[in-house]
């Protein structure tokens, strides 16, 4: 066990965990931020996507020892009132079915739009291909990203 000082959603936090604990499990088990989801544990499904210094990052294989005091943003901290353009677009398009993967989809989409405010279909597909939606809401995800880009 070791002590780590973290910067999560703009808040300094200290946790006492094994140094190899992935960021995902620190968020879920130790700082009570369960919006970031576990899906595969091997960077294949995207359910655990967070932002590290504003860049979309899988958290399930990222040891906490490598995070340091870099800025971590989770779905809970993406916007103050749940009104990030991507979140609003997700509501407008009623994207979710089961909803489990959607936090990861939203975090990835928000990072995409930051880098490319008006992405083409190909860009959207390229950026979002790492995020599995088992319910098959892909048509709505793409439409919502376009709405968020236009808005």
């Amino acid at each position: 066990m070791a002590t780590f000082n973290l910067n999560i959603n703009g808040k300094k936090q200290q946790v006492d965990v094994d140094a190899d604990t992935p960021l995902l499990w620190v968020l879920r088990d130790h700082v009570n931020l369960v919006g970031t989801k576990y899906g595969c544990g091997i960077n294949q499904c995207g359910a655990c996507t967070v932002h590290l210094n504003g860049v979309a990052m899988r958290s399930c294989m990222l040891p906490i020892s490598q995070v340091g005091e870099q800025a971590v943003t989770t779905i809970e901290g993406l916007s103050e009132n749940g009104d990030h353009p991507v979140q609003k677009a997700w509501i407008e398009h009623d994207v979710a079915q089961c909803g489990y993967c959607q936090a990861g989809q939203i975090m990835n989409a928000a990072a995409l739009l930051k880098n490319s405010p008006n992405p083409s279909d190909e860009e959207i597909e390229g950026a979002m291909a790492g995020n599995i939606c088992r319910c098959g809401t892909y048509v709505r995800i793409k439409a919502a990203i376009k709405t968020a880009a236009a808005g």
């Binding site: 190899d20 499990w25 369960v34 970031t36 009623d94 079915q97 319910c135 048509v139």
Partner: protein
């Protein structure tokens, strides 16, 4: 209006009326954990008045409606309360929805399966709303001294036209709670619906998109430990010995032991399918510590049964479909003679592999079992069965077991089989602490309960005028055949033969979204496409001819479909897709299928654009009776289409020496956004027939339409799923 006797859930009304005897009743204790977010502008009432088991009304007119059935992504948590709200005649904006716990005193069939929640809940939900509305009106009538018949309601307000008096539901809720439950109630006419049939957004949407804890895996409790399991690495194996010395020495590890979650002699439910009741369990303080300890276990396994392989399954299925079973499942006319006299015979075989459900949220459950009672919280499609098995295994009576259902990160049939809930209870009872059991993705994917592998042989006979004179289907599958002997084209062909074989296996199988239909529809619809082609007919015209026969002069009496509604969706999709028009560079395929009491027809357009074929657009026509929530309904249709295309193209679970060869998404391929249809257009048949299934019916037929479109786009027929496996063209 339709007058209906209040026979449904009578117990629930009696019970809640008794509860409400004192006039005021405080909200249920579990309400506290479900506070709406600040964004929901509704002011919470100071007091709640229980009107019946389905709903309570606050003094300010805010209404809480319980959603009785488990939510797996099929959106019943929005649709079921909409039905109650409709008959209650309340403003949807003033409704708070809460997931009901398992409560067999109040609710019936709290189960997510078979696309039946809305169909079977329909009458009871309407009655719950209508009964409450009537009680509110009676309370107002009493207060105003006017006959109740003179009152009207709209959007949560009761009006008396003659006197000009009005009252919000909240104002009379206290009095209404003491009104006797009416013997019969009026239900609205379909034409008067204000909520049903209008698009309403997912009631959990905002919470989902801001990361609120809604799922089983999100449960956190004081003193809660994390449990993880190791099951045998292959089917036909069990635990021989465990060396847990390394695991026990690791940080945070509390205990390591083995359990049997289904001991001999207990009464089992149908949902207790489980190839691995014996498990090695690690209990630790945190998830990561448990995961690491799991890897440090040194377990010796021993073989107890056959080491099956995918190649072995294929050989056995081939053997089965090469021979006739002793008895046919259905036989009309003289198929043998018809095939002998045919001008043309078309014969094809189709196959599909085992599939894992792969819900995005892996199996998990929270349990806190003490000597006196058990509290369970988690994702389960069959809470009532789970409760019974937990009672049998823990020795606690049913009334001492409480089950709360969380929102589920996908179901697809997987969570009908609640072994993980039983395991959590057994583990909690053993360690005497609250426990959350968590499966890793690998544990989940290699546990079994798979969609069975299937193979089917089709034969069709055409006469010299290209009329279909005989049809033969012989299907085989693991733990049961995929055949529905009385579905189309039974009833549309004079000479018909359906035959079934079942292959035994120690690999456990279970219901997977649209069981059996998820294979047989695609095979049948691809085969009919070839038969139509051999007959020189347009594939839609060919099918419509058969439906025409089944409408005018059906063969046999047990036909399990309405040929007019079947033809109806086909005609609708034909019109909407502009079938028959020239589409350069696009291969078009069509299909139609009936399952879960609903009719679906689809046209799939595949474009190659110089590269791998890609589904460009899917048109879908659906007849599922009344559509409760068009927004959610279209989403379900789209999801079924993507799910069907994805699994037919890319997914397979294979076995070697009893061991699943795929255990995570690096090897098990699921459809991704860049492979999904670019566009899906859904049309519903306008109907005032009571609603039927919606969560499953769009999946089965799309596999046939896809196969037929791929043929038009590439010139090659596909017979064996997954279509893209080993195909340089479709890859």
């Amino acid at each position: 209006m339709t007058l209906v006797k209040t026979t449904y859930n009578r117990r629930s009304f009696l019970k809640s009326t008794a509860l409400a005897g004192g006039g005021m009743v405080l909200g249920f204790s579990w309400l506290a954990s479900c506070k709406p977010s600040a964004e929901e502008v509704l002011a919470m009432p100071k007091e709640w008045f229980d009107i019946n088991g389905f709903l309570k009304i606050g003094e300010n007119g805010v209404v809480t409606i319980m959603s009785p059935n488990p939510e797996i992504g099929q959106n019943v948590k929005t649709a079921m309360p909409m039905i109650v709200a409709e008959e209650l005649d309340v403003d949807w904006k003033k409704v708070i929805v809460e997931q009901a716990p398992l409560n067999t005193d109040i609710f019936t069939r709290q189960l997510a399966g078979g696309s039946q929640s809305i169909r079977q809940g329909w009458q009871g939900l309407r009655m719950a709303g209508a009964t409450a509305r009537r009680m509110l009106m009676e309370a107002a009538a009493k207060q105003w001294g006017v006959p109740v018949e003179e009152l009207t309601t709209e959007a949560g307000v009761i009006s008396h036209k003659n006197s000009g008096k009005t009252a919000g539901y909240g104002e009379v809720a206290s009095a209404a709670a003491g009104i006797p439950v009416p013997e019969e109630v009026e239900l609205k006419d379909v034409k008067d619906f204000r909520i049903i049939g209008t698009p309403r957004k997912n009631v959990d949407g905002k919470k989902l998109y801001t990361g609120q804890p809604l799922f089983g895996l999100d449960i956190q409790r004081e003193g809660m430990l994390i449990a993880m399991i190791e099951h045998p690495p292959a089917f036909g194996m069990k635990v021989k010995s465990v060396d847990d010395s390394a695991a026990r020495a690791m940080s945070g590890v509390k205990d390591v032991f083995t359990i049997n979650s289904l001991p001999e002699g207990i009464e089992k439910q149908w949902s207790d399918t489980n190839a691995f009741p014996e498990l090695v369990v690690v209990v630790a303080e945190s998830t990561w510590q448990a995961m690491k300890a799991k890897k440090a276990l040194r377990i010796e396994w021993e073989r107890t049964g056959d080491a099956e392989s995918t190649a072995g399954h294929a050989a056995k299925l081939d053997e089965l479909i090469a021979k006739a079973p002793a008895e046919p499942a259905r036989k009309d006319g003289d198929p043998e003679a018809a095939f002998k006299n045919a001008a043309k015979v078309i014969e094809r075989t189709y196959s599909a592999p085992f599939l894992a459900h792969n819900t995005m949220e892996p199996m998990n459950f929270f349990a806190h079992v003490t000597d006196e009672k058990a509290e369970l919280v988690g994702p389960i499609q069959t809470p009532e069965f789970l409760e019974k098995t937990i009672s049998a295994v823990t020795g606690l009576p049913l009334e001492k077991i409480h089950i709360d259902m969380t929102r589920m990160g996908g179901g697809f049939g997987r969570r009908l089989y609640g072994h993980f809930g039983v395991e959590a209870a057994v583990i909690s009872q053993k360690v005497k602490a609250p426990v959350k059991l968590v499966y890793t993705r690998d544990d989940d994917m290699t546990q079994g309960t798979y969609r069975p592998g299937y193979k089917v042989l089709y034969r069709a006979a055409l006469d010299e005028n290209n009329n279909l004179i005989a049809f033969h289907v012989r299907g085989a599958g693991t733990h049961g055949s995929p055949i529905f002997a009385n579905r189309f084209p039974a009833g549309a062909v004079d000479n018909y033969l359906a035959e079934e074989h079942s292959l035994d296996s120690n690999i456990s199988t279970g219901a997977w979204r649209a069981p059996r239909s998820n294979f047989i529809a695609g095979a049948e619809q691809a085969f009919l496409d070839e038969v139509a082609e051999a007959a020189g007919k347009d594939p839609i015209d060919f099918r419509l001819e058969l439906f025409d026969r089944a409408i005018k002069n059906p063969v046999g009496k047990d036909n399990d479909y309405d040929a007019e509604r079947y033809a109806g969706v086909l005609k609708l999709v034909k019109e909407k897709a502009g079938w028959g028009k020239d589409m350069p560079g696009v291969g078009r395929g069509v299909s139609a299928y009936f399952c879960h009491n609903s009719y679906v027809a689809q046209v799939v357009d595949v474009a190659t654009d110089g590269g791998s074929p890609r589904v460009k657009k899917v048109w879908c026509a659906v007849d599922c009776g009344i559509v409760v929530n068009p927004e959610g309904a279209i989403n379900q249709i789209e999801g079924g289409i993507v799910d069907g295309i994805g699994h037919a193209m890319y997914s397979a679970m294979t076995f070697k020496e009893g061991k699943p060869e795929q255990s995570n998404f690096d090897k098990y391929r699921l459809i991704r956004i860049n492979e999904a249809p670019a566009e899906i257009e859904t049309h519903f048949v306008e109907s005032d027939i009571d609603p039927t299934g919606l969560g499953e019916p769009s999946l089965p037929p799309v596999i046939g339409a896809l196969a037929n479109a791929l043929y038009k786009a590439t010139g090659k027929r596909v017979y064996d799923q997954p279509f893209a496996m080993g195909s340089a063209v479709l890859g």
